[in-house]
């Protein structure tokens, strides 16, 4: 890595993140975590692990998948790709294979963002490299899984995703922990690069254990005529999550969509935002969040739209349902317009379940609890736009499964 990058990382080693509770790495094991052996295919996993993976949309049978990647703790356990249109490997291999890979590192996510990015740069992170070749369109998704297998592990990953010109790439990422894990940490840096005319959809399901600290750091750089669609689903308990992916719509007609489904349970603290910097002519951003807070959970949903060029459009929408007196939803929408002829808007509504709706369902024979649960599930089951039909059906299934427990 470039000296300059390392120097910047070194300086940011103790830099607290702008948002979220500060996590002490000392409480976790880093690279000294035990190694896990490599396997040929996800089919070789134990049934127990297969089940955990399936919960986050990663199918060990690998049917309907263009390829699979699995990282357990710090070890790359599996990486295989059936598609000719896509290159998939561990980031460390990619760096060895192509000397240009390092030119992509830390461009979409500044290395000195905070101590988490710094640690990732200074250590030996896992992570994957996915690249769709020019003029290709693979309809099946690559599935990638970050799995924490041992207690007290601090997992780091650095992912580089490149969609070459006029290519289309779909990714499903599932993050999960083994049954015996209670406390752990995950830092995942993901950098997306979309070349002219490219499209990426990225669907991520998180299902962590109750004492896990999660700090993803994501940046997306969009060139002309590109589309990036992110779907984020988290409905299970976790200790804290703080994430604020940023999309840089630099290209003309570039378009970004962030859709999030957040379910707060127990004493989880979810701090999830999305940001779009619209500098490209005619670029646009859309952010939709559905949040439901239960128990003592706290959900902060943030959105930031910065319009910096004429003719850009952005819309931010957050709907929240507060289901318990001890939980909270805090919605922070920010609009920043610094050009003429732009159109930025937001819409936020946080409230409780409408009694009228509950009574309507009760007068069809449901109990009060059944009615409330049906309304909550309906509320969370938003239609995800922009996916090819097979993947849309698959994603719908993933969402339905994730919200069952709410």
């Amino acid at each position: 890595m470039l000296r300059n990058t390392l120097e910047r990382a070194e300086k940011a080693k103790k830099k607290k993140a702008a948002l979220g509770e500060d996590i002490d790495f000392e409480n976790f094991e880093g690279e000294e975590a035990g190694e896990h052996e490599e396997i040929e295919s996800l089919k070789d996993l134990s049934d127990k692990n297969k089940k955990s993976l399936l919960k986050v949309g990663v199918d060990a049978s690998e049917t309907g998948r263009a390829g699979s990647f699995l990282q357990i703790d710090q070890s790359k356990v599996c990486s295989n790709c059936k598609s000719e249109a896509i290159e998939l490997m561990g980031l460390q291999q990619a760096i060895k294979k192509y000397d240009w890979v390092k030119d992509y590192m830390w461009n979409a996510v500044p290395v000195d963002t905070d101590k988490y990015t710094a640690k990732t740069a200074l250590g030996e992170p896992g992570g994957y490299f996915i690249r769709s070749l020019p003029n290709t369109k693979e309809v099946f998704p690559i599935q990638a899984c970050m799995f924490i297998g041992d207690e007290k592990v601090a997992q780091t990953a650095h992912n580089i995703i490149i969609a070459e010109e006029n290519s289309e790439l779909h990714i499903i990422t599932g993050c999960s922990t083994g049954d015996d894990v209670q406390s752990a940490m995950h830092v995942g840096v993901s950098e997306f690069y979309l070349k002219k005319g490219a499209k990426i959809t990225f669907t991520m399901v998180h299902n962590w254990a109750e004492q896990v600290e999660v700090r993803p750091r994501t940046g997306v750089i969009l060139n002309d005529d590109t589309t990036y669609i992110s779907n984020y689903i988290l409905t299970s308990p976790v200790n804290t999550i703080q994430t604020y992916p940023t999309a840089y719509c630099q290209g003309e007609n570039s378009k970004v969509v962030f859709q999030s489904i957040l379910g707060g349970q127990k004493d989880s603290i979810l701090d999830a935002g999305s940001r779009a910097i619209l500098t490209g002519k005619n670029s646009s951003a859309e952010m939709i969040t559905r949040a439901v807070s239960k128990d003592e959970s706290q959900i902060y949903t943030r959105g930031h739209l910065a319009g910096k060029s004429p003719d850009v459009r952005g819309h931010l929408e957050c709907m929240g349902l507060v289901l318990s007196d001890d939980s909270l939803i805090y919605s922070v929408p920010e609009l920043e317009g610094s050009s003429t002829d732009l159109e930025l808007s937001h819409e936020a509504a946080v409230g409780k379940i409408a009694e009228e709706e509950v009574l309507y369902l009760m007068s069809r024979g449901l109990t009060e609890d059944e009615a409330a649960s049906m309304i909550v599930k309906g509320f969370l089951s938003m239609d995800i736009a922009g996916l090819p039909p097979e993947l849309a059906a698959e994603t719908k299934k993933m969402i339905d499964q994730s919200i069952q427990g709410m």
Binding site: Y360, L361, S363, L366, G378, M382
Partner: protein, 259 residues
């Protein structure tokens, strides 16, 4: 003698947000009977339905409601519905993400005809077809963006899946075109066992209507006129409607003794 009495409301008074909306309500409905509830806007017709359903805002301050001989005055809505009450609402709420199909599924599963599942039973599909709903329509979020007539048809469809024993229809004909009123009336007749001889009918209904056109197709035994929260007059539906048309509500109530 066989007991035919299905619903008995005696001396009912109901308060909403501290204000007495209904008082001195006495209403007795036998099995197999259909009664009509008339009355000016704001007279308390829908309030009576909500009170019979046990909606929390509608506080019974006097009187009691017996259904199938059981005192339901303090039961939850769910318990009343499980006992056999059903309703088609005047203005049902839209629920985002809850499909009409989902409702049909719970309704038909609650009445025991089939287990809960993803797919609709062939009977329910046939019912939907009869009410002119396509498969795609059933996938829509319930009442969200439904037209006035679609709301009314969807309410009746849900009742057909649910099969209650006593059904309250709150203006099933308002805003519905002539052809669809006939269609809805046909299904209301099915719901109320009208194909059977009067003595053999098991189901009963109470129907709110303003124009009464639907009564050309749905036969009713008795009509009640609600004025300022009280039943001011009861009698033959055709005669009462005729009086209201000629004399207005006030006039009708004044000469009520004649019926």
């Amino acid at each position: 003698m066989v007991v035919r009495l299905l619903l008995e409301i005696t001396d009912l008074a109901v308060e909403v947000s501290g204000k007495e909306i209904l008082s001195d309500i006495d209403l007795y409905i036998d099995k197999g009977e259909t009664h009509v509830l008339l009355g000016p806007n704001g007279s308390g017709k829908s309030t009576l339905f909500m009170s019979m359903l046990g909606f929390p805002k509608y506080k019974v301050i006097r009187g009691e409601i017996l259904f199938k001989g059981e005192d339901i005055t303090n039961m939850t809505t769910t318990e009343r519905v499980q006992l056999g009450l059903g309703v088609s609402f005047q203005n049902p709420p839209a629920i985002r993400g809850v499909k009409l199909k989902d409702l049909l599924n719970i309704e038909s599963s609650k009445n025991g005809t089939k287990p809960v599942s993803e797919e609709l039973s062939p009977e329910t599909v046939a019912l939907a077809d009869k009410l002119k709903f396509s498969d795609q329509f059933l996938e829509r979020d319930v009442n969200l963006g439904f037209s006035g007539g679609e709301v009314k048809r969807s309410e009746i469809l849900q009742l057909l899946a649910q099969k209650p024993d006593f059904i309250m229809f709150d203006e099933p004909d308002s805003g519905v075109d002539i052809e669809n009123v006939e269609l809805l009336a046909e299904e209301i007749n099915v719901l109320l066992d009208k194909d059977k001889k009067p003595g053999l009918r098991e189901k009963s209904g109470l129907l709110i209507t303003h124009l009464g056109y639907i009564l050309n197709f749905v036969g009713a035994n008795t009509a009640h006129v609600l004025m300022d929260g009280k039943i001011a007059c009861s009698g033959d539906p055709t005669e009462i409607l005729e009086d209201i048309r000629k004399e207005g509500f006030k006039g009708c109530v004044q000469c009520c003794g004649i019926h």
